[in-house]
Symmetry: C2
Subunit: 315 residues, 2 copies
């Protein structure tokens, strides 16, 4: 029920939005979603994950150099990428609770990229959540405009946010009820060592200090904040889960980046602490041949099964 | 000369880019700019600032709720914003060395926003630099795609970058010769206290540690990195200048945010340490009446004069 309503509201939001424009301007980003306020993002996520029996998120990073052969002959690069994403979505949705759209790959197409992104988000079925991997972060006034773009135009249920500029750059993303801002805490890349681990506050590393701040801000907007916590450091994942027992975690870094799915689940998944485990390249580029969609489906299914296995089964 | 060449190369870059596509994919972002490599961003900035006798950057934050009366009757919100930006650019360019495009306000228009942004960037005259205030930051592979979008499609000479994810999220923005990545160090907003000031590394605040890292990365790509350092803390500005004597600083926070232009110049401007002082709202919204363009020009001219005054004159 909440999922169907959400999708209906998503489209209604687009259609009715001009009627809630204030003057020539924008209402707070919460307006078009206001009818869906009864269900928080965390509750929606829990419902989806139970229904689909999956914590897998399929990451859509459509790299023009890696498109499978069957979709390379589109009328344009934009058309090829749209086809590729649609086929991947169609093939893998059964095994996923969410899709993550990496905005970089769409923006690199030029102005048409925003249209491709919007069309791709619209192709994601109702029973999956849509995460805009945009890593936005700016002062309050600008952040509100970014939130409006991602939640209202790009049909996203969640966004990734960079915390460097502090509270007034993050909280505008928490004001749209029913959505979620996954704030970078401890990322999966080599550069995580430069600031997140090297800097400290009150004796704790920056990534943990960030997480505590996010939990504090979430208190003012319950159910709207989460953390990005990479699979490449299960130890940090465990610390973050201890510090933030109820925040949902978006976990990149399994697959191509080498994170161990079983260790991730042991460190971070609890009854009240939900996880979304993302894999991009190792699913969507599982084959570059005619079987690319089936191969992606197989990779998503296998990841789902590994993540669902009891620790004894997995080992 | 370098400026004219740069602009020519900017357009040539767009036109010839399809011929340098590798397969269906993208070459490194440096390709379309490779012909302009003989002039670094810092050298170009120095030339522009001398020629224009100005360190002023006009920030374009086109807020639909604040459009002046004469441009409110466009065929669409996108058309109104395009007109507004063009008129502001035309009126203020004489007094500015650069324009800063705040991507949030363009993205909030929906898919058409990318087109509005591209058209606005194209309207900026040859003798001003274009800064894309995008605050991007993602793992290396994604960062390269963001760099391509901003430097090649959006015609920007520089971009703002968020450093939280460390070196592999920043250095891809340093690979396009002739351009610059202004990395957030100490921002002008209230949230600067949450992490930038509260966290430390080797006894120094995060903002200073960030600056030292940026200077280190700039060593591998000379002349391609700068810092964002807010006007609201002249003390931090001075520390940052001492730590990074040759990096250019992009300084927001004068005008509506209350930073003192004179204190900014005393703290950060040196012969070898260039500054770009941005003002957005107090220039572009100087009047909402028929005189909005003239009022913006007046505000830009006054800021230029205050920034150019010798300390004795200003006090």
């Amino acid at each position: 029920m909440p999922l169907d309503r959400r999708r209906v509201i998503r489209y209604v939001g687009i259609i009715v939005f001009p009627t809630v424009i204030h003057g020539l301007g924008l209402q707070p980003a919460s307006m078009p979603h206001s009818a869906s306020t009864s269900t928080s993002f965390v509750d929606r996520l829990r419902t989806v994950q139970r229904r689909k029996a999956s914590v897998v998120c399929v990451g859509l990073d459509p790299d023009p150099d890696r498109l499978p052969v069957p979709v390379r002959d589109g009328d344009s690069l934009a058309a090829s990428i749209t086809s590729f994403c649609r086929e991947i979505i169609h093939a893998t949705a059964e095994y996923a609770c969410a899709f993550k759209l990496n905005f970089a790959f769409f923006e690199a197409l030029g102005p048409v990229g925003a249209q491709v992104l919007e069309e791709t988000a619209s192709a994601i079925p109702d029973d999956c959540l849509v995460i805009g991997d945009a890593k936005r972060g700016d002062i309050g006034n600008s952040a509100r405009f970014y939130a409006h773009a991602v939640f209202n135009h790009m049909h996203c249920d969640a966004i990734t946010v960079a915390p460097y500029m502090g509270h007034d750059s993050v909280t505008p993303f928490l004001e749209t009820e029913g959505t979620c801002a996954f704030v970078l805490a401890r990322t999966s890349n080599p550069g995580a060592g430069d600031f997140q681990e090297a800097c400290t506050c009150d004796g704790e590393p920056l990534y943990l200090h960030t997480a505590r701040k996010v939990a504090e801000w979430n208190g003012d907007y319950p159910g709207t904040a989460g953390l990005v916590a990479g699979a490449t450091s299960p130890e940090a994942l465990g610390e973050l889960r201890n510090a933030c027992p109820t925040l949902p975690f978006l976990i990149p870094g399994v697959g191509s980046q080498g994170g161990d799915p079983v260790a991730v689940m042991q460190a971070a998944a609890t009854d009240e602490g939900l996880v979304i485990v993302n894999s991009s390249r190792s699913i969507i580029y599982a084959s570059e041949g005619n079987d690319f969609a089936a191969a992606a489906a197989g990779a998503a299914r296998r990841l789902r099964d590994v993540l669902n296995a009891e620790p004894n089964e997995a080992n």
